[in-house]
């Protein structure tokens, strides 16, 4: 590999701008500057040095800040476009009707928005590719800058070359007393600078670690992004939802072997609340205070067959509320939704004489667990020959059911009465009765139905959470280190002619650095410093001729 040997003897890698040891400008660019570019300490950044092979080109593309910033801006703009209309997961219709919904509600714009896939923007391949490219850019840019910077920071020599000192933003030059260095050292140490001295030269340094802040936060971001990608691994991420019916035990989707009993759903309102304008606008007159489902979580014993609910063991009893999910071995169950009096639970029928309208007694059928027969007295009873919880019609004369949930229950009854000891059959559904013979003496007259509350729960497991947490934590630590601390340095050198050369640098917050320099000057005889940048500015101001 090509190298540049500095006059001081240090061998720098090709592309170095400032010698890592003494700070002499090595590149033509730096030699012409009045104030040196101290970014990355003038070290040889790979992307700024090579641009020949395809690897170089790819490397340079991703390590470019311009590319990185462009990717961030694209992400930002795309994310904003995604908020113009509600995304598909927030609209109140199913996926199949989404297209029609957007067109109907938002007109032509909605139609185009949906057609372009903007209604589900955040899951599109191109959005994910941009975020992926951003991730690559973060990794490559960090390696590209971080490693040479680290090498430079650890290689610094105390004594720097005059050309380096004079090209700093804050400089001072002038006569000195023999004690200056010692006085400055004492004061700087008090100000918690790390001071090193080497034949007539002094280097005081503070908070060097803050230079690593950006690289630390980038590492955190990479861990965070990696954790998000890990979700595609099976078993790492579970996201299911269920309707838990009051009084029922239901298998929990996504959690094998677990069953959940909804004992009660509770909805409470704030009492005595007057209707505010905001509420009036929404057309509500009460504000909900609590959504709660009291549940029992069960587990099948070891080795039980799937669906066998005979020997369930209680795992825990809990009241799931908003903000207070139930947690069990990595899974969390959240209160998400509810429907009051939504589903049929029980139906009551009267065994009635068709001619006299006289009732022989009423029976109440639990629609989830109907008994095979209901006995009213010795001679009067009703057998259920068939039960169709979700009756969908007849097929070849046979009644059909769509599911096991009682959304449209129908029964095939056999009624025994003292009058009809042989029994009469009747098919009874909601608003329909079919009799096989057509001239029954008795009928099952519908009296009443009980409805049940159902509670919508979401089951989630996310094994990436700890990793996300670590990534987020590292990111914040890095951001804080980089933002709240600044790397400050002062160089003081005795020159052969007896004068003193002083320079100071910080990566940010020059205001505080100047205060530090002032504090040192109070205790050590230092010449008055100048801010070369401010001087340049002043010159420009005067040339510009603004002001009086």
């Amino acid at each position: 590999m090509e190298t540049i040997t500095c006059e001081c003897g240090h061998v720098n890698p090709y592309g170095t701008h400032l010698c890592a040891m003494c700070g002499r400008p090595l590149s033509d660019e730096e030699k012409q500057r009045k104030i040196v570019d101290m970014r990355y300490e003038g070290s040889a950044v790979r992307s700024k040095t090579y641009n020949v092979s395809i690897v170089d080109k790819i490397w340079n593309f991703f390590s470019s800040v311009k590319v990185g910033v462009t990717l961030i801006v694209i992400t930002l703009v795309a994310a904003a476009i995604g908020t113009l209309l509600p995304q598909t997961f927030y609209i109140p219709v199913s996926e199949a009707d989404a297209a029609a919904y957007y067109e109907q509600v938002y007109g032509e714009f909605g139609k185009v928005y949906y057609a372009l896939g903007l209604s589900d923007l955040y899951t599109t391949w191109w959005f994910q590719v941009i975020v992926g490219l951003l991730g690559i850019s973060i990794i490559i840019a960090s390696i590209d800058r971080g490693i040479p910077l680290h090498k430079s920071l650890t290689n610094q020599r105390v004594k720097r070359h005059k050309s380096f000192m004079k090209r700093q933003r804050i400089i001072a030059e002038g006569p000195a007393s023999p004690q200056t260095l010692a006085q400055a050292e004492a004061q700087l140490q008090k100000m918690r600078y790390r001071v090193r001295r080497e034949d007539g030269a002094l280097l005081a340094e503070k908070n060097r670690f803050s230079r690593y802040g950006p690289y630390i936060n980038h590492v955190g971001l990479i861990i965070f992004l990696a954790a998000i990608m890990m979700r595609v691994i099976p078993g790492v991420y579970v996201d299911e939802s269920m309707w838990a019916r009051e009084g029922q035990i239901t298998a929990v989707p996504g959690m094998d072997g677990y069953y959940l009993e909804n004992k009660e759903f509770i909805l409470e309102f704030h009492e005595g609340q007057e209707q505010t304008d905001a509420m009036m606008e929404q057309g509500v007159n009460t504000v909900a205070k609590n959504f709660q489902t009291d549940v029992v979580l069960y587990k099948q014993p070891e080795g039980a067959l799937p669906g066998d609910t005979s020997n369930l063991e209680v795992v825990q009893e809990y009241s799931i509320r908003v903000n207070h999910p139930l947690t069990e071995s990595g899974y969390s169950l959240f209160q998400m939704d509810y429907r009051l009096n939504d589903e049929l639970k029980e139906m009551t029928f009267n065994l009635t004489n068709k001619a006299t309208n006289e009732s022989l007694g009423a029976i109440t059928i639990d629609l989830y667990n109907p008994e095979p027969q209901y006995v009213i007295d010795d001679e009067t009873r009703i057998e259920i020959l068939g039960y169709y919880p979700n009756f969908t019609g007849f097929e070849d004369g046979e009644p059909q059911t769509g599911s096991r949930f009682p959304t449209n229950p129908a029964f095939f009854f056999k009624m025994f009465t003292p009058e009809t000891p042989e029994g009469e059959t009747s098919f009874v559904g909601i608003q329909q009765t079919v009799e096989s013979t057509g001239n029954n003496a008795y009928k099952m007259a519908f009296v009443d139905a009980q409805f049940t509350d159902i509670s919508g729960l979401t089951i989630r497991k996310d094994r990436t959470i700890p990793l996300l947490f670590i990534g987020g934590f590292i990111f914040l630590v890095g951001v804080a280190i980089g933002s709240y601390w600044q790397h400050r340095r002062m160089w003081i050198q005795q020159q052969p002619d007896g004068t003193l050369l002083f320079a100071a640098h910080t990566n940010k917050n020059w205001f505080s650095l100047k205060k530090d320099v002032d504090a040192v000057r109070e205790h050590a005889q230092l010449p008055i410093y100048i801010d070369q940048l401010a001087e340049q500015e002043q010159l420009r101001d005067q040339e510009g001729g603004r002001g009086e």
């Binding site: 992400t75 995604g82 909900a288």
Partner: protein, 393 residues
């Protein structure tokens, strides 16, 4: 006197205090022949600001006690708190750098924000279940503090621009700087319009058909310039809308925006006619003696201080709470997305500054744009883009 009334009086006192302090800061930076005198003004201005800020904190505490939760749960409470934090952030930065010029911009911004807040429903409403969490306090207050410190960078940016942009010449910078002044007038216009029509007690109701095709009714508190979809006035002798809007647009809000623009434009026009100068040109002499370098540094410093706090409050705490309440730490809800956009924008700000050397005027403009994004987040995302966070709908 109830706690709630007391909190109202304290907020009012703070508001008046900030107004007085603004004038005093004006006195402090006016070129004074005696340096001592300018210093006296400055001391007085800062003292009044601190006193008003204490009253403002008093408002916050009293209201907290009265409503029994951190008063950041609706549009009025959050916006008022944001105004208070802006003053707090200004005081922090002021005691670091002691630049009175910041006060002349920061305090009026805080006054406008609090004035804007006062236009919303101030009634106490109980919390819905999803907001009943300590994370409401932690997440919202942390995010608001971050935003208010970021706002100070825009304040420094504006001061920088008012000093350095030649507003007497036609240029992109002078045009956009004057546009910023004009938009400030629109905010004042909104407050003026709201106050005017509420003093008159204007009210007018309409029946209409909403976007899902259902019958609904709506009450305007300003004369309806825009009508809702298929509107029918309930009263006979009422101001009838000039035009009907498609169902997806909330014509009531559009009417409010239109009135704000009308009032603001008239106000702006009057100022221009009377002063015969641009507003930015009028303000310019105030900032003649400001140190540009220092302003640039304060702007940058404010972003450095505010950014981590904002990210912590608006993204990290938000994710933790979202995970607890909804079972997912991120749901692409519009408010979440806009918090991310704000963070990404300041990320761009930092990268451009660090690597591309965007300092001075460019950096000042970015800081101003950042504040516009924050305000967009507060105003538009809450009022227009409905979502889980929307206080108003």
């Amino acid at each position: 006197m109830t706690m709630l009334q007391l909190s109202g009086y304290l907020l009012y006192a703070a508001f008046i205090g900030y107004l007085i302090a603004t004038l005093l800061f004006g006195g402090a930076i006016k070129k004074s022949p005696v340096k001592q005198q300018a210093n006296q003004w400055e001391k007085l201005a800062v003292s009044v600001t601190v006193l008003a800020f204490i009253a403002n904190i008093g408002y916050f505490i009293c209201r907290w006690i009265a409503v029994k939760h951190a008063p950041v749960s609706n549009m009025f409470e959050f916006t008022a708190a944001f105004g208070m934090f802006i003053v707090g952030a200004f005081l922090v930065i002021y005691f670091m750098y002691r630049v009175p010029a910041l006060g002349i911009v920061a305090l009026p911004i805080a006054i406008l924000v609090i004035g804007y807040a006062a236009m919303f429903d101030r009634e106490v409403s109980p919390l819905v279940p999803s907001l009943q969490s300590h994370w409401l306090t932690i997440h919202v207050i942390c995010a608001a503090i971050g935003e208010s410190i970021l706002a100070i960078s825009a304040v420094a940016g504006l001061v920088y621009l008012l000093k350095n942009v030649d507003t007497t010449k036609r240029s992109k910078s002078s045009f956009w700087l004057e546009s910023v002044m004009y938009s400030v007038m629109i905010v004042i216009g909104f407050v003026l319009a709201s106050v005017t029509f509420s003093v008159i007690g204007y009210e007018s109701s309409f029946d209409y058909v909403d976007k899902e095709g259902r019958d609904a009714e709506i009450t305007y508190t300003m004369p309806a310039i825009w009508g809702m979809n298929e509107y029918v006035p309930q009263q006979e002798d009422t101001f009838t809308p000039l035009a009907e809007t498609p169902p997806v647009i909330n014509a009531k809000k559009l009417t409010t925006v239109t009135w704000a623009i009308l009032f603001g434009t008239v106000l702006y026009g009057l100022i221009r006619v009377i002063a015969r100068r641009r507003i930015s040109t009028m303000l310019q002499p105030l900032f003649k003696r400001v140190n540009s370098d220092l302003m640039d540094e304060i702007g940058y410093r404010a972003v450095l201080i505010g950014y981590p706090i904002f990210v912590l409050g608006a993204l990290v705490f938000a994710m933790i709470w979202a995970h607890e309440a909804w079972g997912r730490y991120w749901g692409w809800d519009p408010k979440e997305v806009w918090a991310l956009i704000t963070a990404l924008f300041y990320t761009v700000f930092l990268h451009l500054r660090l690597s591309k050397g965007w300092e001075g005027e460019k950096s000042a403009w970015l800081a101003v744009i950042g504040f516009i994004i924050i305000m967009f987040n507060l105003v538009a995302v809450n009022l227009i883009i409905a979502g889980l966070h929307s206080y108003a709908s």
